[in-house]
Amino acid sequence: MPLIDTDVHESFAGVKDLVPYLKPPYKDWIAAGAWRGFSQPFAYTSPGNGNRADVTNPDGSASVSDPALIKRDVLDAYDVTYALLTGYFYPTGLKMQYGLASAMAAAYNDMVAEKWLSFDDRLRGSIQVNARDPEAAAREIDRMATHPAMVQVMLPVVDDIAYGHPYYRPIFAAADRNDLVVAFHHTVFAEGPYGMGLSYMERHSLIPLAIMGQVISIILNGVFDAFPKLRFIMLEGGFSWLPHVMWRMDREYRQGRVEVPWIKKLPSQHARERLRLATQPSEDISNEAFLKVVDLIGTDELLVFATDYPHFDFDDPDAAVPKGLPEELRQKILWKNAASLYGFDVPGAGAVAEAAE
């Protein structure tokens, strides 16, 4: 069966790896060690310090800066048809110096194109931006969209103004005119409604709430209506909460549409048509519970598979999607829905689809 992994984290060994791709004056700043890169405001508690403990670079560092590792552990290990590179270096996290942040996003994109996308033709890229400067982000999207393997824009989950705010609209406009998907992923600065919590476990349990906040924001602030072709994917936020969010938004829409008449469809309909959720991290629910959730979501075309390699909460494609699900649903989750989201050509897909019927 084909397999599409929508969340694979490539990285660099350190921010100095960006120096060859940076423009002045930032090139000299980073080369001189003026900034050491982001560090998370908490400690990891998993055996591999946030990564799978069996994934290490030759130098012992945990980040996966070597494309050969992803080839070995993901592409070849599971015979992946396509894998979406999603990064975890999000310049939007800089609290100031937006010029530096935008330059680092551009440098990172150039590095991904040169070092990763050319390494294996199963890899597809996400355009990183500095969302704090939406006009600059839009220019970067226009620049990188010419690369045939760049298929989406990555928006890191922020801790203040959610992405439905009109301030970010140029980013969506750029994604729309370049026919790109918009992906959302949590960050080391994403927060739940009461902050990050007091333990890693609490922070990690709050991540879906941060993602829910973004879903609610972009639908209820009219992003889906302003860009009727644009499609959205939420990574690493789980999915079993979606029925509630859809029901709640629909109820609010029935009673409060007069305030937001630019929303032209039921929020749940927007979600079913153009929102996609990655299944990882799976919640170890039974076949029956899984089927109930899909039924409550109201479409079997919304969920897509992701491993989140090399992070510790990795989902194994052979184990994370329950084997007892109907074969057609498994195929949709493991590759068909993502192939249709990204418009991927899947070799032999016709034959596989027929065989499954």
Partner: protein
Amino acid sequence: MSAATRYDVCAAEEVRVGALTPVPFGRATLVLTRLPCGSLRALAGRCPHQGAALQFGCVTGLMEGECDGAIAESRAGEVLRCPWHGFEFDLASGEPVVAPPAARRMRLRFFDVSEEAGRVIVSK
């Protein structure tokens, strides 16, 4: 088919555009209003959502617009909003402005109504 019974419920001048006029109707209440085109509407007094007394709702228009600060009203006098949850109902068609929840019917119930010699006649 037996002929409908006709009820004289109030004076025609009591039913105005943009207003809701409750009238007793057996043990229930009917709500009357007049569309801007002049025709009357007589509807069952309870909201098809959770049963609020519609006489306490408001008659408004259809709010439309493409962005914050640019909302315009059209079809003034043709939309009823329920006093409880504020759902909107189209007084011309009886349909909710937003599609109802799955497997729910949520339409206003209209009665035949006419104006004869200055009186409002409801048939049932």
